[in-house]
């Protein structure tokens, strides 16, 4: 994703502002303490500062859920929409204003359940944006209902005897969608890896889907809360096209060799949901991008009216 301004008047305002992380900070985030959302917010702010994105040219779009409050805590443009539909709004933004940098923040219910139809198609459209799935495997805002990614047997208020079905595998599903161009997984409790993944996602040209494993201190503390204490359970993907965070070598010793252009291997790696595998599963920048195929030269109002006159000729009697 690259932010290229296309407006002349906008270009005239280009200045030599230098942005610091605080320039992207909105009001203090009001998520629970220990919530993984804080970590993602801070990584995003760091990314924007590193890439020196102008706040006015950056849009965070979200749906409904704990994580969807995200845009309110950024000092950029934001759109806190309705449940499950963030990707559709983001697509509209990007289709008409390709020069804006667009980030979409969704929870597991938002993206995988009520918004599943849009998720599938947004992956296929491959519109240039970063889509973050903040997956804590539970509905938090509405207080502990089963989500599609809740592990089988896990008890919630809606399925008190435990979730009836095997959990949905968002990575495997995304990797199965035609025209997927970037699929990665990271964990909010490993900030260095989270940041490196977000950076790679931003630099990717196309729809970058990042699943972020995330702790919910209230409702699923025993899922990723436990995993965060056990570096042995984590496997880091390394290899061509991957990301490499040396600082983590001392703690995370399990490595999986993977070439991010190898889709079949990516799918194989994604299948096993018990392993916590982090890294870029797949990337292919050559896939067609919908907004590029739909990019259309502009005409002035007068030119359009001339064209319209011609159009009316076909209907003239």
């Amino acid at each position: 994703m690259s932010g290229e301004s296309c407006g002349l008047l906008h270009a005239a305002r280009d200045d030599d502002r230098v942005f610091d992380r605080v320039d992207y900070e909105g009001p203090v985030a009001r998520w629970c303490s220990g919530c993984g959302d804080h970590s993602v917010l801070s990584a995003a702010q760091r990314l924007l500062a590193e890439k020196q994105l102008a706040p006015e040219n950056t849009v965070f779009v979200s749906g409904i859920g704990c994580s969807s409050r995200f845009p309110h805590y950024m000092k950029t443009y934001g759109f806190h929409g309705i449940h499950g539909r963030a990707l559709t709004i983001a697509t509209g933004v990007k289709l008409t204003r390709p020069e804006l940098d667009v980030f979409v923040v969704m929870g597991d219910g938002d993206c995988i359940s009520i918004g599943a139809g849009h998720w599938v198609h947004a992956v296929r459209y491959n519109v240039d944006m970063v889509a973050l799935l903040l997956d804590n495997e539970i509905y938090g805002l509405t207080k502990k209902q089963t989500s599609p990614t809740t592990p089988q047997g896990y008890k919630s208020n809606t399925q008190p005897r435990g979730s009836y079905l095997p959990a949905m595998n968002p990575l495997e599903a995304t990797l199965g969608i035609t025209n997927a161009s970037f699929v990665a997984q990271t964990a909010e409790w490993i900030p260095a890896h989270l940041f490196a993944t977000l950076k790679a996602a931003y630099e990717h040209s196309g729809f970058a889907f990042v699943r972020i494993l995330q702790r919910c201190p209230h409702f699923t503390a025993d899922i990723f809360g436990e995993a965060a204490k056990q570096p042995d359970r984590v496997e880091i993907l390394e290899g061509p096209g991957g990301i490499r965070v040396e600082a983590l070598d001392a703690i995370y010793k399990n490595k999986v060799e993977h070439d991010s252009s190898d889709l079949a291997h990516a799918r194989a790696l994604a299948q096993d949901m018990t392993a916590i595998r982090l890294g870029i599963f797949f990337e292919d920048e050559s896939r067609p991008r919908y907004e590029e195929t739909r990019s259309i030269p502009q005409h002035s109002a007068h030119e359009k009216m001339e064209l319209l006159e011609k159009e009316f000729e076909r209907y003239a009697v």
């Binding site: 407006g7 008047l9 906008h10 305002r13 909105g26 706040p55 006015e56 040219n57 849009v59 965070f60 779009v61 845009p71 309110h72 950024m74 000092k75 950029t76 443009y77 934001g78 759109f79 806190h80 929409g81 309705i82 539909r85 990707l87 559709t88 709004i89 983001a90 697509t91 509209g92 933004v93 990007k94 289709l95 008409t96 204003r97 020069e99 804006l100 139809g117 849009h118 599938v120 198609h121 739909r294 259309i296 030269p297 502009q298 005409h299 109002a301 007068h302 359009k304 009216m305 064209l307 319209l308 006159e309 159009e311 009316f312 209907y315 003239a316 009697v317």
Partner: protein
């Protein structure tokens, strides 16, 4: 227009035998199995007639299935063309002339009472002597059934006659029929040839050439065998005219209005707008986005509007239902959006290809929560073109949703209208991208009007997050009651401010009388024709047509007070007094009638029908006679 014809018999009529009837209004139906080209024939005939200066209204007769079984009354496909000396505003009453490719399609129309009792029918007679005995039996049975009415049936050996010209008469019979019509109505053959060439411009030249020969053959045959012709005087019009259907007009209107993105999902009868846009929009720098579903179509257009472009989405009833939550979001976040609803029969899947006006109340009140917005209904094909510019401007000035209610009648009706005098000023005014001055907030509601300036991404200093949650002037989520009351008031005030700019609608006819018929949308032409006929009968009837349904224009109560009775005429369901259980209290009424009763406290009656077809002026006239208050002037 009842016309008695002399009988032809078997002999060839000479010029002396041909009677030419001069009439100022005439309709013809061409009916066939699906795929036999009856509609193409009617479209060309209509276009030629428009070019010759007649008023024209054509409407397609569409079976619900893509390929219904052949020779089946339910599968009748075709077209009605109504011609007049003056502009024609609706499809008229029963048809006087029918050209049928087979007797089953004809039966379908007969059973729907689409034919005048004394209609003339020209019918392909190959079925009478068909090798299949079952078909011969069907023919006989059909003739028996048709003999209930006083039709004049003329058998035409269409295929046989076509065989003189082409090897396969199945393809091109419609052009033979066009030739017959050209003789009957004395159409300019050169114009016919040119129109045929235009209609087949994407096909090989042989198709045009063959069609020309068939046209001439049909013309010749009619001249040698028929004994009647019609002359419909034309009116000189200085204005240049264009002819198209309502969906095409909406599509071109969207271009003229400078709308830059259309997001849609295929749905009958709205889809042809996107076909049209898909063909031309991109040449104007616009994008037609076929979304994965109706909801996404709304989301994408809201995203586009949020980013400063003006977008629209187009759908029909079931799609409106799906978009509902997004409409609420657009209203709450004050993002301008134009939504076109081409209404069809409902509820649920209902009658996908047929007209109804049943979405009115859902369009106005269908969004959960208080969601004030504008609803407007074009009444003619010309208005379908122009409404888009107005809708867009209102949406942007008020920062709200404008719903445009069209319907299947306008969508498929084809009629000429004065070629618009285009203005570049209708076009997109690119959004104000200036930096936001210090201290300005994204919802600085003007206390008098509720209007505030819109911030769009890219504007320096305007960074904020729009939200569907209750929010204050800074767009900060606010759950407290004072903010909620203020914000609700401001959103509503925009509607009041807009209402103050509306003018009272003009009364068609005298401003005082016994009965005022009130309509909205596509029924305008039929209602006004019925009212005119009633007035010629001496009845003290007037009509009023509403364009803005939300907010309603001022002055309605005053207008109503000058009539003994007020009655809406609509294409939607209402209970009939006298039906089991139905009383004045529990009666479910026509949708506009509910609205007007609430807005004016006048006892507005209604006469509504859900026949799956446009209202016929004759039926409305009947309703007017039946509903005149007792003691009226009639």
């Amino acid at each position: 227009m009842a016309v008695k014809l002399p009988t032809v018999g078997d002999r060839t009529p000479t010029d002396q035998d041909v009677t030419t009837y001069t009439v100022d209004d005439k309709s013809v139906e061409i009916v066939s199995d699906s795929g036999e080209g009856a509609q193409k024939c009617g479209q060309i005939f209509g276009a030629v007639s428009a070019k010759m200066g007649n008023g024209v209204w054509t409407v397609e007769i569409i079976p619900a299935e893509v390929e219904p079984p052949p020779r089946n009354p339910a599968g009748a496909s075709g077209i009605r063309v109504r011609l007049g000396s003056e502009p024609v505003t609706n499809w008229g009453d029963e048809t006087n002339l029918v050209i049928a490719f087979n007797e089953q399609a004809l039966l379908g129309r007969h059973r729907l009472n689409a034919l005048a009792d004394d209609a003339t029918i020209l019918i392909e007679n190959m079925w009478a002597t068909h090798p299949d005995p079952e078909i011969r039996d069907q023919w006989s049975a059909a003739m028996e059934e048709l003999s209930e009415k006083d039709y004049r049936i003329v058998e035409v050996p269409m295929e046989d006659a076509c065989l003189d010209v082409v090897d396969n008469p199945r393809r091109g019979k419609n052009m033979f029929v066009l030739g017959m019509l050209a003789w009957i109505y004395d159409r300019d053959l050169e114009l016919c040839r040119a129109q045929i060439a235009d209609a087949f411009r994407k096909k090989s030249p042989e198709v045009t050439e063959r069609s020309h020969r068939l046209l001439e053959s049909g013309y010749r045959w009619a001249g040698e065998h028929l004994d009647f012709r019609y002359r419909i005087p034309t009116m000189e019009s200085k204005r240049e005219m264009v002819v198209m259907n309502g969906n095409e007009a909406i599509a071109l209107g969207a271009v003229a209005a400078g709308l830059e993105l259309a997001a849609m999902y295929p749905i009958t009868p709205a889809t042809s707008v996107s076909h049209m846009l898909g063909d031309v929009f991109e040449r104007f720098g616009g994008v037609v986005h076929q979304a994965e579903d109706e909801i996404a179509a709304a989301g994408v257009s809201i995203g586009a509007s949020y980013s400063g472009k003006c977008a629209f989405t187009i759908t029909s009833g079931p799609g409106m239902a799906l978009k509902t939550e997004f409409l609420g979001l657009a209203i709450m976040t004050e993002i301008p959006l134009v939504v076109v609803d081409v209404q069809r029969g409902g509820p649920s899947t209902g009658l996908p290809t047929k007209v109804e006006q049943s979405d009115l109340l859902a369009a106005i009140f269908g969004q959960p929560g208080d969601a004030p917005h504008v609803v407007v209904a074009p009444a003619t094909i010309e208005e379908c073109f122009h409404v888009m510019t107005t809708a867009r401007r209102i949406a942007e000035v008020l920062r709200t949703v404008v719903i445009v209610l069209s319907d299947a009648n306008l969508a498929t009706g084809v009629a000429p209208y004065p070629r618009p005098l285009l203005s570049a000023e209708w076009q997109s005014t690119p959004p104000d991208q200036r930096p936001i001055p210090e201290g300005q907030r994204p919802y600085d509601w003007d206390p008098d009007t509720g209007i505030s300036r819109r911030f769009i991404p890219g504007q320096l200093g305007g960074e904020h997050t729009v939200t569907g949650l209750a929010h204050d002037e800074r767009s900060k989520v606010a759950y407290d009651s004072a903010v909620n009351v203020r914000a609700s008031t401001m959103r509503s005030r925009k509607l009041a401010a807009f209402q103050s700019t509306l003018r009272p609608p003009p009364v068609n006819g005298d401003e005082h009388g016994d009965l005022l018929v009130v309509g909205w949308g596509s029924t305008k032409g039929a209602i006004e024709e019925a009212v005119e006929r009633a007035r010629r009968e001496g009845l003290a009837v007037s009509s009023l047509h509403l364009t803005f349904l939300s907010p309603l224009p001022p002055g309605l109560k005053e207008i109503f007070s000058h009539f003994t009775k007020v009655m809406t005429v609509e294409i939607n369901y209402s209970d009939e007094l006298g039906d089991p259980f139905i009383t004045e209290q529990n009666r479910r009424r026509g949708q506009l009638s509910w609205l007007l009763r609430g807005a004016t406290l006048v006892d507005v009656d209604c006469w509504t029908r859900v026949l799956g077809e446009p209202l016929r002026p004759g039926k409305i006239l009947g309703a007017i006679r039946d509903n005149l208050p007792k003691g009226g002037s009639a």
